[in-house]
């Protein structure tokens, strides 16, 4: 009976027409409705633009988070041959630019850089880097400091034979003689110098470049890069600075790095506010003396790294602000320093502008005094010419003399900011400029440097110069507002493990300790990877038209524009701004 009613109803309500299509709906190419067009376009992370060496930091952290430590380390080496050194002593402007800083805390980029170098050392990794075919031109480099080493490294990658001439018995320059062991252990330095040499760079130590020798070099080399650094402490220009109680801060550091233990009994005054002054003071404490830094501005105005100043104070270094030496004399066997008191009279260049505080002076008696106010070229002729024929670039000065080898000045000789990272930037800029000069002639240098710029400059990328994938990125620097922070969780920045204060003050042992792989990976995972695709696949997951198609390309996917309606969901849901939505041009 039940079936009967149903059968009857069906026969009485026939469906004569139920239109259906056996064509695929793919016949309807809905992509024609689109007036906005998404596309994959990687952009520039602010850290990489802020790094003087232009390191591809967003990618380095992505690889680190994935546990691809060797690849991450090699990614650094493409732009910077000295990660173990920079991971320790660089002032890391990258972290100041880090977008994560607006979210919670910046990524500990310098700690991760050092971690990668430590890992390479631990497993004795050999980098596998692209190298261009050999070139006939040879380049001579004066000075085996960071600028000279970097120039030699990059020129070698570009196919040039390089000879580095170093006045000292060992390579490293300021890294070898001017930075104390507790910040940069000898083994870390030697390993990376050896790695530069392993690329085929010949370093000739004990070979100072004199004017005569420079003339000789010009006959057998196609270019000379002068990077002899600023090795002489600047004079104070006060009376009595030549007396025997007054020492040279850089020379003092050099002695200590040479294994000597100078007598520092009693109280030593250190004049200056930069890293050298702080290094001298902290070395004095380690040798058993007392150190008093005398600085003409305030603590917040010191060019030394804030962290280093804090640790110095923790270790017992004293700091007297707003005093400048006016006269140095003797008080029996001790040294009498007359100090002029200063006061703040406004701001200039982000720090306090000072002027004498009326006639106020005071006098202190110390056992000795060290000058550490700054440094300059050891010889006047080291400095680049100011003439119009010289091409003044951001990190070096280039002299293209007709018929004669090119001459380039770099490192501290040409840099506004005297830092290891800027020295590396100088070596890289010189390498790109000389390579372009040799291959394409002088007129191509400026356009080539412009095309190798990371973000809004002045950092340069060797990977871009060598035609790597980085050249495909948009130079737009990703802003915090362009990150979809819904996809990130608050997570505290890693804490750099350190020797405790009591241990620090007793020895020159390295203060910053190694970090484990899992801490490094967790820290790297915090990175937004601004502007870079990390294969999160959100674009595929969110596409309502199934128009993000996986494939075998480097991107791993492409957009099927036959059906993409340009809704823009993929671009909005990309956490890291690795996609762009543009008006469709028809």
């Amino acid at each position: 009976m039940a079936e009967k009613a149903q059968a009857r109803a069906e026969s009485e309500s026939p469906i004569h027409i139920m239109p259906r299509s056996t064509l695929s709906t793919e016949a309807n190419k809905t992509g024609s409705w689109r007036y906005l067009r998404p596309r994959y376009e990687e952009k520039t992370a602010p850290c990489s633009a802020a790094c003087p060496a232009g390191e591809d930091i967003g990618k380095i952290e992505m690889l680190t988070a994935q546990g691809l430590f060797k690849e991450a380390w090699e990614t650094i080496l493409r732009e910077n041959p000295l990660p173990g050194i920079c991971g320790r002593v660089c002032f890391h402007p990258c972290e100041g630019a880090c977008n994560r800083g607006e979210f919670d805390d910046p990524i500990a980029i310098h700690s991760l850089e050092r971690f990668l170098a430590d890992t390479a050392e631990r497993y004795d990794l050999k980098p596998l880097l692209e190298r261009l075919p050999g070139r006939p031109e040879k380049v001579a480099i004066a000075g085996a400091g960071p600028a000279g080493l970097a120039a030699a490294w990059f020129l070698t990658q570009l196919g040039y034979a390089c000879d580095v001439f170093e006045a000292s018995p060992e390579a490293g320059g300021i890294l070898r003689w001017g930075i104390p062991l507790y910040r940069l252990p000898l083994a870390a330095l030697q390993r990376e110098i050896a790695q530069v040499e392993a690329q085929g760079v010949r370093i000739h130590t004990g070979r100072p470049v004199t004017p005569d020798f420079l003339n000789d070099l010009e006959t057998s080399y196609h270019a000379v890069y002068l990077a002899c650094g600023h090795g002489r402490t600047t004079a104070l220009r006060v009376s009595g600075e030549e007396s025997d109680g007054v020492g040279d801060g850089l020379k003092f550091l050099e002695k200590v790095r040479n294994g000597e233990t100078p007598d520092v009994k009693g109280v030593s005054a250190v004049i200056g506010g930069g890293n050298t002054a702080v290094d001298v003071a902290r070395s004095i404490v380690r040798l058993g003396g007392e150190a008093l830094i005398l600085y003409r501005r305030r603590r917040q105005d010191m060019p030394a790294f804030g962290d280093e100043v804090q640790m110095a104070l923790d270790e017992g270094v004293k700091l007297q602000e707003l005093v400048a030496p006016e006269r140095i004399g003797k008080d029996g066997s001790r040294t009498l320093v007359t100090l002029r008191h200063m006061r703040i009279a406004g701001e200039e260049g982000g720090r306090g502008r000072i002027e004498p505080d009326g006639d106020r002076t005071s006098r202190i008696v110390v056992d000795r005094l060290f000058k550490a106010t700054g440094a300059e070229a050891a010889e006047g002729w080291h400095n680049p010419p100011a003439s119009k024929e010289a091409l003044a670039l951001s990190h070096c000065v280039l002299s293209l003399r007709n018929g004669r080898p090119a001459l380039a000045w770099g490192g501290d000789l040409a840099n506004g900011i005297k830092s290891v990272a800027h020295a590396i930037a100088s070596g890289k800029q010189a390498a790109i400029a000389l390579d372009t000069l040799f291959r394409e002639g002088p007129d191509s240098i400026l356009p080539r440097l412009e095309s190798c710029t990371v973000g809004n400059g002045p950092s340069l990328s060797m990977e871009i110069h060598m035609g790597g994938e980085r050249r495909l990125r948009n130079r737009h620097v990703v802003a915090y507002g362009e990150i979809n922070t819904d996809y990130f969780r608050y997570a505290p920045r890693m804490t750099q493990p350190r020797l405790v204060r009591q241990e620090r003050a007793r020895s020159f042992a390295e203060i910053d300790l190694r970090v484990s792989g899992n801490i490094a990976m967790r820290e790297a995972e915090r990175c937004f990877n601004c502007g870079l695709c990390n294969q999160c696949d959100n674009c595929h997951l969110f596409c309502p038209d199934m128009s993000v198609i996986h494939d075998q390309s480097a991107q791993g996917r492409h957009i099927d524009y036959d059906y993409c309606k340009g809704c823009g969901l993929c671009v909005v849901e990309c956490p890291r701004n690795a996609m762009t939505l543009e008006e469709e041009i028809r």
């Binding site: 039940a2 009613a5 109803a9 009485e12 309500s13 004569h16 259906r20 299509s21």
Partner: protein, 389 residues
């Protein structure tokens, strides 16, 4: 087995017994209890069904259209604004000839924001091609829901089973819940007349030219006519198994009645009490309870109202600019019938206001004391509204 159930629970039990395979819903008061119970049944395995959570009622009906097209039995429940949001897809479901069953708990439309009973939400969907049943009590709810599946699948049209908010959805009553075996004897497994098949891929709903569309619509019209003819047969089958019968129209004491109330929903129960009282006082009242609203049972309405001298339609709904919607339908059904009685239209109980026996008696006396209707619609129980501060 007798159980004490809410109207909402009665719906859920019927859905369980009907062996529904896909349930989808978006929560809205006052239907929420229905899908709460069903989601629990799906989660615990008491029903072997998939519960699809969706982000709107529009998506809900779209999901059911997809599921039903794949050849399974489906269910949803909604109210008021939710039904309004489904509107576009209500047309699609019927046009695609998908026998989806929905429980609709009547809720007044906003603004003013109101969760109480008012039939305007479902009556506003009368032209969507859905069959509509209005229920009086929880027993009728469970029985009608089971019948709904049978009718829907017979004529390939979707069905709405309509309940009054709170007065029915949230009121506990004794209900005879049939056993699974009994239900299985009444309701065979769903067999789709056409369905999606991955072995033979096709899509439904392509572009249809003027040369064909009209015929498709005529098929639907014919299916509605068939539904009208089939429903009594289904009721026969149901009555044979369960001993209960409702009728598309239930004529209560209409044979000798001078005034006949036309009612729907829970107001009918109140009217039954009033009828008893008035009959006891010698007043000849009858009631025509409209259960089936679409297709509209014109012949049964004419038959029930044939002997009446006056007809009083009580509408818990309103079509602005016209009148109560049941009153329109009654007038339309009678206008071509010879010698029909005048139709008095009353609006009562809008937005959940109680329709008490006193309200219905007032309607009775107003009808009795006026020879002809004064106006199309008389609003009962309106309060004086002060426009002061």
């Amino acid at each position: 087995m007798k159980q004490v159930l809410e109207g909402s629970q009665a719906v859920a039990e019927a859905v369980r017994l009907a062996g529904v395979q896909v349930v989808s819903a978006y929560p809205i008061t006052p239907q929420t209890h229905i899908v709460e119970i069903l989601s629990d049944y799906c989660a615990t395995g008491k029903m072997n069904a998939k519960f699809l959570r969706v982000e709107s009622e529009h998506s809900c009906m779209a999901a059911l259209i997809g599921a039903q097209s794949a050849g399974v039995r489906t269910f949803t429940a909604t109210s008021g604004q939710g039904l309004a949001l489904m509107h576009e897809l209500l047309h699609w479901a019927s046009g695609a000839r998908l026998p989806i069953v929905m429980a609709e708990v009547n809720r007044a439309l906003a603004p003013g924001w109101n969760i109480w009973v008012d039939q305007t939400d479902t009556l506003a969907q009368r032209d969507t091609g859905w069959i509509q049943f209005y229920c009086e009590d929880s027993q009728e709810v469970i029985d009608t829901t089971l019948q709904a599946y049978k009718l829907a699948e017979s004529v390939a049209l979707p069905v709405m089973v309509v309940l009054d908010a709170f007065f029915l959805s949230h009121t506990y009553e004794p209900v005879d819940v049939p056993s699974q075996e009994e239900v299985d004897r009444f309701l065979p497994p769903y067999e789709a007349r056409f369905e999606l098949d991955t072995k033979n891929p096709c899509s439904f709903g392509p572009l249809v030219p003027p040369a064909v569309y009209m015929e498709m619509r005529h098929d639907m019209a014919a299916a509605m006519d068939t539904a009208l003819a089939t429903f009594p047969v289904i009721e026969d089958e149901f009555a044979a198994l369960f001993g209960r019968r409702y009728g598309a129209v239930e004529a209560i004491a209409c044979d000798d009645a001078e005034i006949v109330f036309v009612t729907s929903g829970t107001i009918t129960s109140t009217a039954r009490l009033v009828l008893e009282n008035l009959r006891g006082r010698g007043e000849k009242l009858g009631i025509a309870k409209i259960k089936l609203f679409r297709p509209f049972p014109v012949d049964e309405v004419r038959k029930a109202l044939k002997g009446a001298k006056k007809i009083a339609v009580i509408d818990r709904n309103f079509s602005f600019g016209a009148s109560g919607i049941f009153a329109q339908e009654i007038r339309a059904a009678l206008c071509n019938a010879p010698d029909h009685a005048p139709v008095f239209g009353y609006i009562a109980g809008i937005g959940g206001r109680d329709v008490t026996p006193e309200v219905l008696e007032e309607i009775y006396w107003k009808t009795k004391h006026n020879a002809l209707p004064e106006r199309e619609s008389v609003w009962i129980g309106l309060q004086e509204v002060s426009h002061g501060s």
